[in-house]
């Protein structure tokens, strides 16, 4: 039995009077692609933000690789190996694609102000390494030909890929993907599924928040379903698809399949 990379224990998040996440516990096994689904407003993105450290938990604990990271800042978690993409894309619009990705390597490199000013050979070597690794990441997601293009001018699909490249360039042990398939057409979604599987093969464990059921069913090993901030069901994709409670949550009545229900919701 593979060990748990991430353990969330009864996480709670309140916003004033609103209980967005209600005592959700979750364990992510190393090497898994763990899906997190649920109807709109279920608390999926909020939960993801709790893992990423965007805001603090109202209650509960979070352990990553054995460490208690509940009180850690977002940047500290990122440095420890928890990387993420954003639902509404947070790229650096004035930088090229290559520069955007190179930011993902900031935490794994060292050259500081002095090294840059003195143009130490170590610094120059590090710059070459960063450039090479960043380019390789772009190649991995299929954007190598856009390396010198300014990110703000890229088409939407490429921007989504760029965000993923930046998040995975440092080969993070844990990668959080927040609705990476949003706005993609069928072909792009299929390519995304293949990409996610390849990222996992490179060694990252993935937590995926997603509405696009084809992608979810194609890549996930385990799925957790949230509704109204609470965990509704958890298990393998086939079991979840057939779970009547899950289907009802999506549509309120019996429905033939989760896929259709989710499409109706999306």
């Amino acid at each position: 039995m593979r060990e748990l990379l991430l353990e969330a224990d009864a996480l709670v998040r309140r916003f004033g009077g609103l209980l967005a996440v209600d005592a959700v516990s979750l364990g992510v096994r190393r090497g898994d692609i763990h899906g997190l689904i649920g109807p709109n407003g279920a608390g999926k993105t909020t939960f993801l933000n709790l893992i990423a450290g965007v805001f603090p938990v109202s209650a509960g604990t979070l352990r990553f690789r054995g460490d208690d990271i509940t009180a850690w800042s977002a940047a500290r978690r990122a440095r420890a190996g928890v990387r993420r993409t954003f639902q509404n894309l947070k790229l650096f619009p004035e930088m090229t694609a290559l520069e955007n990705v190179s930011i993902g390597l900031h935490a794994s490199t060292r050259a500081g102000i002095f090294a840059a000013l003195a143009r130490l050979p170590g610094q120059r070597r590090e710059e070459r390494e960063i450039a090479t690794a960043a380019y390789a990441a772009l190649d991995f997601v299929g954007l190598a030909h856009q390396a010198a293009v300014v990110a703000g001018t890229l088409p939407y699909g490429h921007r989504r890929l760029l965000e993923i490249a930046r998040a995975m360039v440092a080969k993070p042990p844990l990668l959080l993907l927040d609705e990476p398939a949003a706005g993609l057409n069928e072909t792009e979604a299929a390519n995304l599924s293949a990409l996610i599987l390849r990222i996992r093969d490179e060694g990252s464990t993935i937590v995926l928040v997603e509405h696009h059921m084809d992608v979810v069913m194609a890549v996930c090993d385990t799925i957790t379903v949230l509704n109204h901030g609470r965990k509704l069901a958890e298990g393998e994709p086939a079991a979840i698809q057939a779970d009547p409670a899950v289907i009802e949550a999506y549509l309120g009545q019996g429905e033939a399949s989760i896929g259709e229900a989710a499409d109706a919701h999306a």
Partner: protein, 347 residues
Amino acid sequence: MSAPPLASVTAPPAMASRVATAVVLVALLALPFFQPHQFVLHMLALVAISATVALGLQLLLGFSGQLSIGQAAFYGIGAYTSALLTTKLGVPFLGALFAAGIVAAVTSLLMVPITRLTGAYLAVATLGFSILVYLFIKNEEWLTGGSFGFMGIPRASVFGTVLRNPGHAYLLCVVVAALVYFALAQLQRSRFGRAINAIRQNEDAARASGIPVTLLKSQCFVIAAFVAGLAGSLYAHQVRYLAPNDFTFWKSIEILIMVVIGGMGSLFGAVLGAAVVVLLPEVLREIGDYRMLVFGAVLMAVMLFGEAGVAGFLSAIGRRLGRALRSSGGDGGATQASAARKDRARA
């Protein structure tokens, strides 16, 4: 998965740009040989000094996105520190110059907690700090001479040789400005420069990539203060008389105007802006009184019509010329990408 070897993340500056910078620098250094009038040398020295402070603010504002309207405080601290060290303690000029930067930098550590603030709150906090420094300079007469002024500051000297020749004093200011310029240009293209740029463009994403945002922002403050301190020292030994009114809020605003007019984010722009702000009132004597009025209007206009400023305007022209000269019908994007490919092949 093969990748061509890359030399650096950012393409190095185009050859044309490097040549242009070299030409400008040589011209500035060669100027004294043409024996211009002493007043011209003095004004250009002041431009170089102002450019140095403006470059520091460019790092703070243009690169890391922190609006500080308190740089005059560090400029003043540097000026008075250098004046005190040379007159009261007989410290040689170069030592005082360096010490001025250090003292200003250390003082800026007081501001480090402020870097947690954003936007206008940061601006107001820097303003408040700058007012406190001004009050200190004005009130502590035993130290600074207060409103009576600080007189008798010696000329700059290099390794024992006093720079009596105004051409030499001018060269000193230009050399310091050039060193600061090239140092900041180097930082801009480095890992540090990319990180602070990332902070400016999207702070959340920078955090999510593991960048220690507050630490880097603080480092920018310290560097900008150091640079302002250096400039202050040069100023003290150039005009050889200091008064608190030289270091009020208005000075901070002037420095801001230099950066904004010149173009946010452009080091060359900061220098241009300094030249405009210092020289324009001399060139247009009539507008002397209306100077700040015009600058206030220009500030609003630039905010309304685009932050690229004079430098942006010039580089847009440069790009058009470049395209016209290449005139093989290729579009700007292709030229950019092919230039990047050439760089990679060269590496």
